[in-house]
């Protein structure tokens, strides 16, 4: 298996194209450290990795490296399905602002451009904001694939700018920024905006929702053609997809997925009466506290509407061992802002849903793919305490 480091790719990405069209399997990684993890993982598993396979290294916020193995034919089918679902025929160029080793950037952007014969423009993202601005301003009929946390960078660098040539904007990877749609519309006045839901095991898309189809940031819309969703008796969201990964490789070996397998998304979910689906948070972030079902994502999602900075929550037992969670705001809120957050909690939720503490950090740490580094948030010892429940 060939290991491709995304930070040393040729400017025209011809090495990625060669890997995609060649007989050898390949794995995209983001740095040298991941390269070592991949080598360890594939050492005993090489016979399984066939010519039509490719892989991503994922560890999410758990720190446990795993290879998620995809099938090139299945992924090419997926990008055609996404293309149809987004009516993306008029899109000429996709502008990449995320590491290509991230399945979202690779499938929704590089592979889409390759299969649909469109332009793929790699950028250094917000490490070179002027260059990024120029590319977005000058690319006709373009498409962006973003994560919600990048909006704070758009605010910082391009607050009063608009990009009328962008006609499709996708969000994925973390909670959809429904509360910022006015800002998104001012940035991209001619764009259709989509919430894309999935996970790396789905390689990576499962559903799609137009931003205006719901006011609920947790609404993920309907499954893509061919994709099936269901929940188990615990409310965990499972999927079956003709585009999904074919295996995962972890320290315990290879786990092959069969087409009939229902695979866990890692989220809790529910189907709404109109047929669309709603995600209620990560499986390990939905729990019972004093007999009430608490979803960290749901509470945090509602509080975001009243807070200009970032808000995240992480699971944490209280002093009595009862499951709970901690709210972390950034930047540091003043007393009145803490009060406003607490009053918003009081208005919407009973005490069992309130965080056991309200803390703040100067900035919320992020993983290279833009997702919140919850392990980093949890372990940071410099968080400031603003309020706590006396239980």
């Amino acid at each position: 298996m060939k290991i491709i480091n995304s930070s040393t790719l040729k400017a025209d990405y011809s090495d990625v194209q060669h890997a995609w069209t060649s007989k050898n399997a390949f794995c995209l990684v983001s740095d040298t450290g991941s390269r070592i993890s991949v080598k360890k993982l594939i050492f005993a598993q090489e016979p399984f990795l066939q010519s039509n396979h490719f892989a991503f290294l994922t560890s999410g916020s758990t720190g446990e490296p795993r290879l998620i193995v995809g099938d090139k034919t299945r992924s090419e089918s997926l990008v055609k399905t996404i293309h149809t679902a987004q009516s993306a025929d008029e899109v000429k160029t996709t502008i990449c602002t995320l590491p290509i080793s991230y399945s979202y950037a690779f499938i929704n952007q590089w592979l889409w451009a390759f299969v649909m014969q469109r332009n793929f423009v790699a950028t250094s993202g917000f490490s070179r904001p002027d260059a990024l601005k120029e590319v977005i301003q000058n690319s006709e009929n373009s498409m962006l694939c973003l994560v919600a946390s990048q909006l704070s960078m758009f605010r910082k660098f391009f607050e009063r700018t608009s990009f009328p040539k962008v006609i499709r904007v996708n969000f994925a990877g973390e909670s959809f920024p429904q509360e910022q749609m006015n800002f998104v519309s001012s940035l991209f006045p001619n764009a259709q905006v989509f919430n894309n839901y999935g996970c790396t095991e789905a390689m990576p898309r499962l559903t799609i929702r137009h931003a205006m189809a719901s006011g609920d940031s947790s609404n993920i819309g309907r499954p893509l053609r061919g994709v099936e969703l269901r929940t188990d008796s615990h409310g965990r969201l499972l999927f079956r997809s003709p585009y999904s990964a074919v295996a995962s490789v972890g320290p315990c070996g290879v786990h092959k997925y069969q087409d009939c397998d229902w695979i866990e998304t890692g989220d809790m979910g529910e189907q709404l009466p109109d047929g669309s689906w709603r995600v209620n948070g990560r499986s390990n972030e939905v729990f019972k506290r004093f007999g009430e079902k608490v979803s960290i994502a749901q509470v945090v999602g509602e509080l975001r509407f009243g807070w200009d900075g970032s808000i995240v929550g992480y699971a944490c037992d209280d002093a009595n061992g009862e499951p709970g969670w901690v709210l972390v705001a950034s930047p540091e809120p003043d007393k009145a802002q803490v009060r406003a957050l607490l009053l918003a909690l009081r208005e919407r939720y009973t005490r069992a849903h309130w965080p056991i503490r309200v803390e703040s950090m100067e900035s919320i740490p992020r993983l290279p793919n833009g997702k919140v580094d919850l392990v980093g948030v949890r372990l940071d010892e410099n968080k400031k305490l603003h309020w706590r429940q006396r239980i």
Binding site: L342, T350, R351, A352, W387, Q389, R390
Partner: protein
């Protein structure tokens, strides 16, 4: 106020349990812990359950020689 998430303008020393929406069964525990931490007095379960409002808390503390005014 901190325990019940009340705004300063909403709080009154004469308020009863029924006046405060957030004064639920868990709040009774939270008030007890808060009193213990702030005043060093631990309510017995009977005392905690007998509290019907802010005046009861003040009276109970004063009966134990704790001046709430301080």
């Amino acid at each position: 106020m901190d325990v019940l998430l009340l705004d300063e303008s909403e709080f009154g020393f004469g308020m009863g349990r029924d006046d405060i929406q957030t004064w639920d069964s868990l709040a009774v525990v939270a008030i007890s812990v808060g009193i213990d931490e702030e005043f060093g007095y631990h309510f017995s379960p009977e005392e905690a359950m007998g509290i019907k409002g802010v005046p009861d808390i003040i009276a109970l503390l004063e009966s134990k020689g704790i001046s709430f005014a301080e």
